[in-house]
């Protein structure tokens, strides 16, 4: 059986088995950020029976592979990494006593029948095989998938080495598989930029990032592209893929206003991996024909399965609200008391999450020479400032921003996030970050030190893996867990 990762545990016949008999108040499909928040909301708002069905062998959805930070700025006022953010909700749901069926795939959802119940057909060893669950409410929190090369209809050869950015992220950060070492990234949204940085830090050469238009957060543009001098072109697209066996290269060309390529100005870029980061599609095919009836009584959609969100904070909020609504529907059917969210969850659900400032699209024009663009990370607002060489700062909305800009000018620092190899563990990588930001020009040193570093399982969340990484004077801490392997690992 595949070794579990992140929050997962090895499933055996005895372990991880959940009781599927009887009627559930709420069945949550998907144990990612939306599903976990929904489950917590259900469990903590009344005497409801709930269950989370997760198709992977770990909880957290896409978060365990998002080893970078920037999660939870609104909900927690801190910049957490993906695994850390997931850990909080996994712990919370476990603390609530919600059963979670891992490696359990939902095959269909039907109903509601004359009894008002929805039927969830699912498969998984944790369910004792194939099971049909009866539920008063079903929360569909199945996330989204990426648009692929095929969906984008990008012409050319059909070689190995063309994959989506999220797929590459799972490979590099979780599965310990490097897809290539000369990369082109198509798409300048946040996922594309973050993968450009990850590949660079893991020793690959990112030869070009292509963006149809400037999207994504300026923060990511600066920290993922500018910091590493990665070539990026806006207004350019991918005209063709070359190679039969292995990807050999791509033809890139400027896009005209009508969306066609100006092939007279095309260029060939040699590469052995192409990361496609061109948008997300809600994934709710599991609902079958019910996907066309979103108002079916008892059926609730939330998170990226509803609509792709920019921030996990928003997904979590939607999960909380949806969980409460699903519980209310179940309560009305069963005669149980109406749900009441506990104060902290109600507060979280009600927080105003503003769209972060500083999108690339708003940043037309180059920075004047001698000036530097700085994105403030003191608070979630993310003011985009311009600092002149003479020490003038503009664009900040509070004094803390100016102070941040001066520090950034004197000695820019960055949080390092990445992974470290684990020996004897149930997984071969554990996510890490530096305890506090390190000087920007030391990031590669830290990355190299992380590649050399080896730790032994078990690894605990928050454990200091190296007290002084790459002689920066800063400690390297684990942002995830890794159990010892049952039989010596791999």
């Amino acid at each position: 059986m595949r070794k579990p990762v992140a929050e997962g545990r090895v499933l055996s016949a005895a372990e991880g088995r959940v009781d599927v008999d009887g009627v559930f108040d709420v069945v949550v499909i998907g144990g990612g950020s939306a599903g976990l928040a929904a489950a917590a909301a259900v469990a903590e708002s009344g005497p409801y029976r709930t269950l989370v069905l997760e198709r992977e062998e770990y909880l957290g959805g896409v978060l365990p592979q998002c080893v970078h930070d920037g999660f939870g700025l609104y909900l927690y006022g801190e910049s957490l990494t993906g695994p850390e953010f997931a850990h909080r909700w996994v712990e919370r749901v476990r603390g609530d006593g919600v059963p979670t069926a891992l490696a359990a795939t939902v095959l269909s959802v039907e109903g509601p029948g004359s009894d008002g119940l929805l039927r969830v057909d699912a498969l998984g060893a944790s369910l004792g095989g194939r099971a049909t669950l009866a539920a008063r409410s079903v929360v569909c929190a199945t996330g989204c998938r990426e648009r692929t090369r095929g969906a984008l209809q990008i012409p050319g050869g059909r070689p190995a080495g063309v994959l989506t950015a999220g797929s590459a992220q799972y490979m590099v950060n979780v599965a310990n598989q490097l897809p290539g070492d000369k990369a082109v990234v198509l798409g300048s949204g946040d996922i594309g930029l973050i993968m450009a940085r990850r590949m660079t830090l893991e020793g690959a050469e990112v030869r070009l990032v292509l963006g149809q238009e400037a999207t994504g957060l300026v923060r990511n543009h600066i920290r993922c592209i500018q910091d590493f001098d990665i070539p990026i072109r806006y207004g350019w697209g991918l005209a063709s893929v070359h190679g039969y066996g292995q990807l050999q290269g791509v033809t890139v060309a400027p896009l005209r206003a009508d969306g066609s390529f100006d092939l007279a100005r095309r260029e060939y870029v040699r590469c052995n991996v192409l990361l496609v980061a061109c948008g997300l599609v809600p994934e709710r095919e599991v609902l079958g024909s019910l996907a066309l009836a979103p108002d079916a009584p008892g059926l609730f959609l939330c998170g990226n399965a509803n609509v792709p969100h920019d921030l996990v904070d928003q997904v979590t909020q939607e999960g909380l609200r949806t969980g409460a609504a699903a519980a209310a529907h179940a309560a009305a059917l069963s005669g149980k008391p109406a749900p009441a969210l506990p104060d902290d969850l109600a507060r979280m659900a009600g927080l105003s999450v503003r769209e972060p400032k500083g999108r690339m699209g708003d940043m037309a024009g180059d920075v004047p020479s001698g000036h530097q663009r700085i994105v403030c990370t003191v608070c979630p607002t993310g003011c985009v400032m311009e600092a002149s060489g003479r020490g003038g700062v503009a664009g900040n909305t509070c004094p803390r921003g100016e102070e941040f800009a001066r520090r950034e000018l004197a000695c820019p620092t960055r949080m390092f996030t990445g992974t470290v190899a684990v020996a004897g563990g149930r997984r071969s990588l554990v996510p890490v970050r530096t305890e506090r930001p390190v000087p920007r020009d030391r990031l590669f040193d830290v990355a190299r030190a992380c590649r050399r570093l080896n730790v032994k399982a078990p690894v605990r969340m928050g454990e200091v893996l190296k007290s002084d990484i790459a002689r920066t004077g800063v400690a390297l801490v684990a942002t995830g867990e890794c159990e010892r392997a049952a039989h010596g690992g791999r």
Binding site: G124, R130, T148, G156, P159, L163, E285, T419, A421
Partner: protein, 495 residues
Amino acid sequence: MDVDVAIVGAGILGCTMARALARYRLDVCVLEAAHDVGEGATKANSGLVHTGFHPRGGSLKGTSCVEGNARFDSIADELQVPFERVGALYVAFHPAGMEHIAEKRERARLNGAGDLEVVSGDEARRLEPRLSERVVAALVAPTTGIVSPFELALATARNAAANGARFEFGFEVDAIERVSGRWELRTKDGRRVRAPYVVNMAGEEAALLDVQVHSADLVVRPRRGQYVVFDKQEGGLAGKEPIRHVLFQAQETDEGGTLLAPTVDGNLLAGPTSENVRSFADNATTQAGIEHVKRVARKLVPDLDFGRVITEFSGIRANIVNVEKEKKDFVVRVSAPGFVSALGIKNPGMTSAPALADRALRLLGEQGLRLENNPAFDPRDQGPVHRRPFMDCIASEQHALLGADARYGHVVCRCERVTEGDVRSCLHDTLPPRTLDGLKRRLRCGMGRCQGAFCTPRILEVMADELGCAPWEIAKGERGGRVVKRQVKRACGSR
């Protein structure tokens, strides 16, 4: 190695030939340059069992097509491959198209497919509600069917193998020589097979082999066809009627034979284009090709949603170029004593395969091959390990599989619902896959709407574990590209 009959090529025709010969007491060996069956034209085409109204009346192409079509029900039943006679509509958009319809109707009659009905545009739209309002008439071919070409070739090969035929993969015939009354086939690396009888069914390579024993009378060049594949729910779940028939159009201009066809897996296929290319290896798609397919598809069914396209692909067919169009036909002939060649086999090659194999068999008999019935031949045997994927099993079978191995309860490919148990079992099947693509063609893992974005790294881990290798040692396909270049980080004490 000495055998009675050596078949060159494990495409649908070579596999069908092997199965035909396995019915007799003969030592048969299939020599295939690639490392899997169906790696040539077989793996990438429209997947149609044609009625036989396209080929010239009375041609081998036409008559073998009609004969093969009639045999598909029993073939599909014996080999347990999905086959559906969905029927075809050959539609005309204008009065000139009526002439095409009349001509096709006559061809069908001459080829032995009987009298096909011609219906009005309204009647055609009753049969296929999303058909264009512009359609004025349609030729109805109820016997046209759909099948998965790779699945058919594999099941045919497995059945041949289970009945004693041997398959030698990676055997690229480099030289053929007559040595003391037998043919000797050699590879560059010194492997050799001797046989008194050779059947050359090497598809794209067949003409190159043929000239080693026969004058170079036929020139075969690659012709490429590009396709666009729609997600399964184009139809029901998109709130629209699914397309149920194969839709051909009477050509107005140079639109090629572009068609729309449902697949046995529930997808919708649009294509192919028809373009000469330089190399049989050139399976690239082009912007122009994809646009062409979309344009013709939209002409047939105007409300197609191209946002539901999940992938594109190309197939290469072997096209005879030095015979004028109206005289062009399949060629199955004795090229030298005991040496039978099948040349220029393209569409409807899969439909024609049973009849073409029989023709080759007859020619071998005329050349002196003794055909003595093999009483042990079992037309259904697929080998000891083979079984249906978990999701295709009935509840009691699923229960038994889960009891034996809980990994059948672990879905690794969510789009096509392939379990970890399926992947592991498939790797030990008769004629097992050696690459990720080989696995994909057998189980459909990675063929769905996510195109492997979720499952590929996970399936590589399962494959590597089951085969005892590393993920970066597993090739994507026949041409050897790798999805994984190497490990990101190496832990001490690990591989």
